[in-house]
């Protein structure tokens, strides 16, 4: 009977969504890319993925236990961080480096800044950049070790070679866009298959976990930018070049799963557009004019840092404020 007369503050109507269900949907969305990565790169990819996820969850648990904080490993966010990081690593990376990256992502990038919702940059990408700076050689060598590693990577597909399509593109060679779309190329574990990522992204859009706004504008901006670059180059406009830039490298993975991270993208509607445009411009600049073939991760963490500024200049006008005030005296 008591429940009938409970007085409580709003909200009075709740839906079943919580951090946990949203995060679980993101994990499900990542599964196609994960499975394709394992299919493409063999059992060693699975080992790296498991090591990353396990160490991310464990370090979150131990840190929160040690700091006497509420333990939040059940909300899937550490699993996502570990999974995303693993999908961003080359398959030949030593396991301890992958674990070190996971620990860095969770403890330094996420927990030291206050845990989920407080981190100013995407933990998985922060850790990826940490690893790229620390072990530049290992992080950019995409050749699969046939011997010498603890578990021999079983080669499922012949197409995996030392250079990624983007590196080949940068060197001025031609690439097979269809292969890049399907994903049987070299690269990090989860980035190769645009198709698998799009399936996962579509699932998230249908479940309304992410809005297609940021990924579409991001990829669109890169397309426009690379098209202009291609048209201005001496060989004239090359549609293949634009498609290769869209399907190649970490653009799809970054656009769908990292740029849309709730914590590190702007909350204002206009801010999201500005954010996605900046991402596209920076990614294209880094890729086309930078020293390295890839630019997605640096572009995203750089724009993560810009988010407070973007939000500041794009605060929407509240209803009743602004406009012309002539009518109301």
């Amino acid at each position: 009977m008591n429940e009938m007369y409970n007085v409580s503050t709003s909200p009075h109507m709740l839906c079943n969504r919580s951090t946990k269900t949203i995060m679980r949907d993101v994990v499900i969305g990542l599964l196609p890319a994960t499975f394709f990565g394992i299919y493409n790169f063999g059992i060693r990819a699975l080992v790296i993925i498991l090591a990353c996820v396990a160490s991310a969850v464990l370090s979150e648990y131990l840190f929160q236990k040690g700091m006497h904080k509420k333990i939040t490993v059940g909300d899937y966010s550490a699993i996502i961080t570990g999974l995303l990081l693993a999908l961003n690593l080359p398959v030949s990376l030593p396991i301890w480096m992958a674990v070190l990256g996971s620990v860095f992502a969770i403890i330094v990038v996420k927990q030291l800044f206050g845990g989920l919702g407080q981190n100013f940059m995407n933990p998985a990408l922060g850790a990826r950049c940490f690893l790229v700076i620390s072990f530049a050689g290992r992080m950019t060598s995409f050749a699969v070790e046939k011997t010498g590693s603890i578990i021999n990577g079983r080669m499922a597909v012949d197409g995996v070679s030392g250079a990624t399509p983007l590196t080949a593109l940068k060197a001025g060679e031609s690439v097979d866009v269809m292969k890049m779309f399907i994903g049987t190329t070299g690269g990090t574990i989860g980035e190769t298959s645009a198709l698998a990522i799009l399936i996962g992204g579509l699932y998230l859009v249908i479940r309304k976990v992410i809005s297609p706004k940021i990924p579409c504008i991001y990829i669109g901006t890169v397309a426009v930018f690379t098209a202009i670059y291609s048209a201005c180059s001496q060989n004239g406009f090359d549609f293949n070049f634009v498609l290769a830039h869209i399907c190649g490298g970490g653009l799809m993975l970054g656009a769908v799963f990292m740029a849309t991270d709730y914590v590190t993208c702007p909350i204002t509607p206009m801010g999201k557009v500005v954010f996605a445009l900046l991402l596209g411009i920076f990614t294209s600049i880094f890729r086309l004019f930078g020293g390295s073939a890839e630019g997605v991760s640096y572009a995203i963490i750089f724009c993560n840092l810009l988010v407070p500024l973007i939000e500041k200049v794009t605060i929407p006008t509240a209803f009743g404020k602004g406009g012309n005030n002539n009518g109301s005296r």
Binding site: M97, F130, S134, R138, S149
Partner: protein
């Protein structure tokens, strides 16, 4: 003797310029890529700091208040020039690796800070040992940061090889630690450990042990924990 001990202890532990006062961050972050660089920078600064404190303390009644900062700068700059030429002459390798950060000792905020807050108000002996204590505190800070960065990022300590990158999947130095971000990581971690171990310092001691002497009644600081505690008690 007690003032000498007190000044040395103050500089090295209680008001350690690196881990407690957070002063002189520019050389701290920039030159500590190896232990030997940290030690060299720390000792160079100590030499300049001790001499400048002594000279400024001697001249404290002569220097007019209005032009004291330019006067201090002139004194410090002369000393730095001397030290710079000595380093160039006797330890050219250290001189090369410290580079621009030797002339920049002139504007090191520890040196101007000690001149302004201590040497200009205290007698010569106390000022000299204040300079030595602060300098040694800075040396301890820089050397420990340097040791950690060199060990983690390069696998060596004072140039002595501890481990090297192995060919396969074995251990390898995490080279981010000898690059700029590593300086921030190591500094933050060591400061956190220092705070955690609660070495009595200016920022975590109770009011009677505080560097300000616990004179809360005349204090204008709004961030001091001890003062707020006194207020609440009232």
């Amino acid at each position: 003797m007690s003032v000498i001990n007190e000044r040395l202890k103050n500089g090295i532990i209680k008001e350690n310029p690196t881990f407690v006062l957070m002063l002189g961050m520019c050389p701290t972050l920039a030159v500590t890529t190896s232990a030997i660089n940290g030690l060299g920078m720390g000792l160079t600064t100590t030499a300049v700091l001790a001499c400048s404190n002594m000279l400024i303390s001697m001249l404290r009644k002569v220097i007019p208040d209005k032009v004291r900062i330019p006067a201090y700068i002139v004194i410090v700059a002369s000393l730095v020039t001397v030290v710079q030429l000595l380093l160039q002459g006797y330890v050219p390798s250290l001189y090369d690796s410290l580079g621009i950060y030797i002339p920049l000792i002139v504007v090191n905020c520890i040196i101007l800070g000690r001149a302004e807050s201590y040497a200009s108000k205290n007698p010569v002996i106390a000022s000299l040992f204040d300079g030595i204590g602060m300098g040694l505190g800075f040396t301890v800070g820089l050397t420990s940061i340097g040791i950690f960065r060199e060990f983690l990022g390069n696998g060596t300590i004072f140039g002595k090889v501890i481990y090297t990158a192995s060919k396969g999947n074995g251990i390898a130095p995490v080279s981010i630690f000898v690059l700029a971000p590593g300086a921030f990581f190591v500094l933050a971690m060591l400061t956190a450990i220092q705070n955690k171990l609660k070495m009595p310092s200016a920022t975590n001691a109770s009011s009677d042990g505080a560097a300000c002497g616990g004179k809360c009644s005349g204090c204008t600081s709004t961030t001091c924990i001890a003062k707020n505690a006194v207020k609440e008690a009232e």
